[in-house]
């Protein structure tokens, strides 16, 4: 990982000054996301896919579905495997190679948002208990990094799962096989996340790269469609107790606006 500073100190100072006046460098409202676009089915060869833009930040996610064995300790559940890569083409600070701790953290956040937010009914993905289940692979790739990679990777992954269909399985002579008929995934909930930063004692949502590099604290909070908190990850700095409560309120509203964007592309999503 290169240690070279990609945001000049001067810019950081400007970001801080503006924040202390409750303003942002790109003139957005404090609790406003950058323009969000969601394109579905961008990779027809995948079982599901989506490309999302959050401002200049771009992430693409693909879902591949196969048959295989369940985990030995979970014979009655399908397998969900989430992988995130910070592609070297997304930023001068990313390098080829196995996922570093930042990529692993984002992968774990995406995984937990889907899993703990109960997005999928994994028990519906069992074909023969203990022997044959669906394996759902979600691969999210950050393609252009202008801040807030977490929400971008979560949004792309959720959208790719909503976009996905799986081939039906038939069992004959004790062996499962996929046929060409397709059905939607057993989606139960619609978790999404919003990331908050504190700069000069001001909380903002959806930080740009400049803001993120300036931030004193960062926390990502996920909500399902019933406004239950389903994921939290405090990943930079410290938060006063009151700020934590405030961050929850801000992110809850930001997520519900983000959910509108999602619903435009997936009308059935709640």
């Amino acid at each position: 990982m290169s240690s070279r500073l990609i945001v000049p100190e001067l810019t950081k100072r400007r970001v801080r000054e503006l924040a202390s006046q409750r303003r942002r460098i790109d003139k957005r409202g404090l609790t406003e996301f950058r323009p969000v676009t969601i394109e579905r089915s961008v990779i027809p060869q995948a079982d599901g896919s989506a490309l999302v833009h959050i401002g200049h930040t771009k992430a693409i996610a693909g879902v591949k579905i196969d048959l295989g064995q369940p985990y030995p300790d979970m014979p009655n559940a399908g397998v969900l495997a989430v992988n995130v890569e910070l592609m070297p083409l997304a930023s001068p600070t990313f390098e080829p190679g196995p996922p570093d701790e930042r990529a692993v953290e984002v992968a774990r956040i995406v995984d937990r948002t889907i899993r703990e937010g109960k997005m999928l009914d994994l028990e519906e993905l069992v074909i023969m208990p203990g022997r044959e289940v669906y394996l759902i692979f979600v691969d999210a790739y950050l393609v252009d990094h202008d801040g807030n990679m977490i929400d971008a990777c979560v949004l792309a992954s959720i959208a790719a799962l909503l976009d996905a269909t799986m081939r039906e399985a038939i069992v004959s002579e004790g062996k499962a096989k996929l046929i060409d008929e397709r059905e939607p995934l057993p989606i139960r909930h619609y978790p999404l996340t919003a990331t908050i930063c504190r700069i000069s004692d001001t909380l903002i949502v959806d930080p740009t790269l400049e803001e993120e590099e300036t931030a004193e604290a960062r926390i990502t909070i996920g909500f399902d469609e019933e406004d239950r908190i389903c994921m939290m990850q405090h990943s930079i700095g410290t938060l006063r107790y009151g700020e934590l409560y405030q961050a929850i309120n801000i992110s809850r509203e930001a997520v519900s606006r983000l959910r509108e964007d999602l619903r435009k592309v997936f009308p059935d999503a709640r």
Partner: protein, 237 residues
């Protein structure tokens, strides 16, 4: 709120028995050991020391590095010694939780290395690790703005409970590790796995604050005893 409801007979707001020891390793600059119920964690601190390779050092501040690692025999099934993604994530998260308390600008161009080794895992290992690491940092003589104290809370069987065992962790509806600087009233780590309403979150967070205060008192008492003992040893000589 405090009737007995839990598998191990604890009240919902009752911590497991906690033992802390300081200065138990000879070679480390600072070390501590904690038992919280059946969870056993050993922590060593090396530093501030030179960074290798040198270009990783920063001109105005110390860097903090952390490895959270589970021994193969610490878990029910043997764990491969290779680091899992969970261990990579927790290493990062624990590093952040502690770095925020350390006066890093006192030691530019150096590194402070924290090794958290889980010897037996029965829930709350990252929190026990942070609590012990805080003592090991003190043992290494590294100035901090406040101790860092950690405890998990969660929702189990519909109730908000504190300090989950491994079994409770597996069965729970939500698990929320929290690390605080109790005097400064600042959160240095919070994670949530599972689902909570906003009200449940508030109840859980308040319980975590309460638990951390208790554990913070234990930390301070442990440190006091340790320094007393050292003083005695010095006087004896």
């Amino acid at each position: 709120m405090s009737e007995i409801v839990r598998r191990d007979g604890r009240k919902i707001d009752e911590l497991r028995p906690i033992t802390m020891k300081i200065g138990i390793l000879d070679k480390a600059d600072g070390s501590a050991y904690i038992e919280q119920g059946n969870t056993k964690v050993l922590v060593a601190v090396y530093g501030p020391r030179e960074v290798h390779p040198r270009h990783l050092g920063l001109p105005e501040t110390a860097i903090v590095r952390c490895r959270y690692h589970m021994a193969p025999f610490s878990t029910r099934e043997r764990k491969s010694p290779m680091p899992t993604r969970r261990e990579v994530e927790l290493s990062k998260i624990i590093k952040e939780a502690l770095a925020n308390a350390i006066m890093l600008n006192l030691y530019p161009r150096t590194t402070i290395d924290i090794f958290v080794e889980v010897l037996q895992a029965d829930g709350g290992t990252r929190c026990a690790g942070i609590t012990a690491a805080s003592l090991a940092l003190a043992d290494a003589g590294i100035p901090m703005v406040d101790l860092v104290t950690a405890c998990a809370v969660g929702k189990w069987n519909g109730k908000i409970i504190v300090d989950l065992t491994g079994e409770e962790d597996e069965e729970c509806e939500a698990d929320m590790p929290v690390a605080l600087m109790p005097n400064l009233e600042k959160v240095t780590l919070i994670q949530l796995n599972g689902r909570l309403t906003s009200d449940e979150f508030l109840e859980a967070f308040n319980l975590a604050v309460k638990a951390c205060k208790l554990i913070g008192e234990l930390q301070k008492a442990t440190l006091r005893n340790y320094y007393e003992k050292i003083k005695e040893e010095v006087y004896e000589q």
